[in-house]
Amino acid sequence: MFSFIIRRVGQSVLVLLITGLVAFSMFRFVGDPIDNMLGQERTMEDIERLRAQLGLDQPFPVQYFRFLENAAQGNFGISYRQGRPVAEILLERAPATLELAAVSAILAVIFGIALGVYTAIRRDGVWANVIMAVSLIGVSLPTFLIGILLIYLFSVELGWLPSFGRGDTVAIGSWWTTGFLTETGLKAIILPAITLGLYQMTLIMRLVRSEMLEVLRQDYIRFARARGLKDRVINFRHALKNTMVPVVTVIGLQLGAIIAFAIITETVFQWPGVGLLFINAIQFVDIPVMAAYLMLISVMFVCINLIVDILYVFIDPRLRVDRAEGH
């Protein structure tokens, strides 16, 4: 068991290092940061001087090694664009993304499960069919289009909600800022959270529905009905409970996806999170910011996968036995 965890951690570190290497080899295709940092009236001499100063004249494995060396000491460099430490900028932007991701995830889970159960129980009902049809839109429409549609409906036409930004924020502690404590902040999070969570919501809903339908066909449900138990008890205590194992796994994995794919939602709503920061960084070839963001996201995914792997071992004893006997 212990050696299994050690081996998985070792693999995770390897994955991280390779991700970083691939990222660094890609950076030169993103373009040259120098032109953004120097004005129109720069000379070739200025370009060469700055390139050498930033170490961009080095081959990318050298640049990568230097990045790792500094990152290991907690130094992610200075943003080319903002001239401030990258770690500071990421910390400043993280609360916006995390709050958005949390609200989206909660919406997706609550509505996903509720609608999934409903459509499974009333599988032939009119509303269930309407919900299923509409959910197809949630899966097939691209996020940015949903975002723009919501903005046009609720901000431009109805004027109920703000069209962009995070509203007023309140500082909590030394670096966290929250939008949950102001009216404008609460209003501002509604549209982006729906946009970001819609795909996950439909995913969870469809998963819950199919799992429920599967379970409702089982013999023990039939026996429960025969015992004359109330529908509510059958549906929620006997059926839903038994559908939750795969649902929880998927929710866990989707949480990472919500944070990582917040990029598009953040761009559409000008939501000041790390995703928007990353998009800006690509636009300006801000290599330190891009590198730190990509490493952060891969660390997050690797950690989630690691935890899921370890949980499997705990949940499923067969895995443990196999592993142990394999050696």
């Binding site: 940061p33 032109d35 120097l38 720069r42 000008q270």
Partner: protein, 519 residues
């Protein structure tokens, strides 16, 4: 705007003396620094023009007018310029402005690490005569110097020293990257990079207040559709730019107004004058574009009016030289290559390319308005005369390195003269590249003409306006005759505002807050 409505409601009840006029404007690019000498780019300088001031400034019609200097005069026979400084001006931190700040700002802005140092290439030294007189000595007579320094902003020497910001630090940032202390009409009260920047009027400003703003917020919105929605919903009062395809729709909306004009930027085609052969063609042994007839054929084959009509939806003006008519030194009555397919074909045949040839056209796809569409149109137009381009469009960050590495057979370029003078593009685009003299640094194709190289220093140092214009006209004529570049049009400027806002649009695309009134 609920807050405004509340204020109005309160005003009705208790008759508040002054109503709060809040103004929010959205731009695509957040100014990356608050240091006026660190980065020479339009988003930075345009924004900081509201906070800092120079010795001179540009008025609503781009004319040069007094700012921190009340007047100026040439010294002797062109040894330099003497500036008489305005008295009683204070910086936003309360300290007084005097000649020491000007000398300090010269040293700071002309330092090797400053992005603005090229403005001071003609300057040999800046001397304080007394507390309110400064001499700027130039190595050669320089008639346009006062008009070339409208963006040279003056910083308080004591403030910079007290905060360790004696020099700009673009790579690591310093106090002046995030904070500002100018003499301008507005001061920064809150700065969150990439999110929002709040300005309030500076009570101690020396000028006459034209605006009625009590608080202004700049907020970057990258996505054009989001910016448009923000304007339509009233979340912001002003956006720049308005996507060209949305102009017609906005004009029908009575809540918003579209303000159109032309920018200082000329969009043109460039050629590889010096290349031995083409890079993206079977013609690897010879270079058709080194033949002036082929370049003229290209100029005749490109249907500029059609591009303006369709892609620019009638919002741009055609161009025949490297500067627009709004610039100083524009050549009047210069000819142009009218759209004529037959003439183009005849010229190609004469040059020995009756059967045409293929080549590669490089184009940015996020730098100029609808740049990629323009290039696609050009590709189609050139195909009609038998020369077939393979279009390669890319983000601007990849584009400049490609041009520097000579990986093109023809390219699209936009040029906006920082000095608003016709000398500027000659120096950067038409001079034979010379690293030492800092000439021709954007002349990717290596165009070279001995007469232009000879005229440039004279243009730079001739005081007499008529004589100078004659030389500028001669250069414009040479560039036209040789079809060194094919200037196509002046890029349009399209701003959108709420209809209760009155403001002034300037061709340099700078947004000047002190000309804004909220009605």
């Amino acid at each position: 705007m609920p807050r405004l409505m509340t204020a109005a409601a309160l005003g009705a009840v208790i008759a508040l003396p002054v109503s709060a006029e809040e103004f929010t404007w959205a731009v695509t690019t957040d100014p990356q620094t608050m240091d006026p000498h660190a980065v020479n780019s339009a988003p930075v300088l345009g924004f900081l023009n509201n906070v800092y001031e120079g010795l001179v400034r540009r008025g609503k019609d781009m004319s040069v007018e007094p700012a921190l200097a009340t007047s100026w005069e040439p010294i002797g026979a062109g040894e330099g310029w003497r500036f008489f400084l305005r008295e009683g001006v204070t910086f936003q931190d309360g300290s007084a402005f005097n000649a020491d700040d000007v000398v300090f700002s010269y040293q700071r802005a002309s330092d090797e690490v400053s992005d603005t140092r090229s403005w001071f290439a003609p300057v040999s030294e800046v001397v304080k005569v007394d507390d309110f007189t400064v001499d700027v000595m130039t190595s050669a007579p320089n008639p346009i110097f006062p008009s070339s320094i409208a963006n040279w902003m003056i910083m308080d020497s004591d403030w910079a020293a007290a905060n360790g910001a004696e020099l700009p630090d673009k790579e690591n940032g310093n106090y002046a990257t995030l904070n500002a202390n100018g003499t301008g009409a507005f001061q920064i009260t809150d700065r969150q990079p990439g999110l929002s920047t709040t300005l309030e009027p500076f009570a101690g400003w020396w000028g006459d207040v034209e605006h009625n703003i009590t608080s202004a917020t700049l907020t970057p919105i990258q996505n054009p559709a989001t910016a448009l929605a923000a304007l339509l919903s009233g979340d912001v009062d002003f956006i720049n730019p308005v996507p060209i395809q949305d102009v017609a729709r906005l004009q029908e909306n009575s809540d918003v107004e579209v303000i159109q004009g032309i920018e200082a930027r000329i969009i043109m085609l460039g050629f590889p004058h010096e290349a031995e052969g083409l890079k993206y063609s079977s013609e690897t042994e010879s270079n058709p574009f080194s033949d002036v007839r082929v370049r003229k054929a290209v100029a005749h084959a490109v249907n500029v009016p059609a591009i303006l009509q369709t892609i620019m939806r009638g919002n741009a003006e055609p161009a025949n030289q490297l500067v627009s008519a709004a610039m100083n030194g524009y050549t009047e009555g210069l000819g142009s290559y009218e759209f004529d397919i037959e003439k183009a074909k005849a010229l190609l045949a004469e040059a020995g390319y009756a059967d045409g040839f293929s080549f590669g056209l490089k184009c940015p796809n996020d730098r100029y308005l609808n740049d990629e569409s323009v290039c696609q149109a050009i590709t189609g137009m050139l195909a009609q005369v038998g020369i077939t381009a393979t279009l390669d469009a890319m983000p601007v960050q990849n584009y400049w390195p490609e041009l520097r590495a000579d990986n093109y057979d023809m390219y699209l370029l936009g040029w906006s003269p920082g000095t608003f003078d016709a000398e500027h593009p000659i120096r950067f685009l038409a001079s034979t590249p010379n690293e030492e003299k800092k000439l021709g640094s954007w002349n990717f194709g290596g165009y070279s003409n001995a007469r232009i190289d000879e005229l440039l220093p004279q243009i730079q140092s001739t005081i007499d306006a008529g004589e100078r214009q004659a030389m500028l006209d001669e250069v414009a004529q040479i560039l036209l005759d040789e079809a060194a570049y094919v200037p196509m049009y002046v890029q349009p400027l399209v701003w959108g505002t709420r209809s209760n806002i009155a403001l002034t649009q300037r061709p340099d695309n700078f947004f000047i807050l002190r000309w804004v009134t909220v009605n």
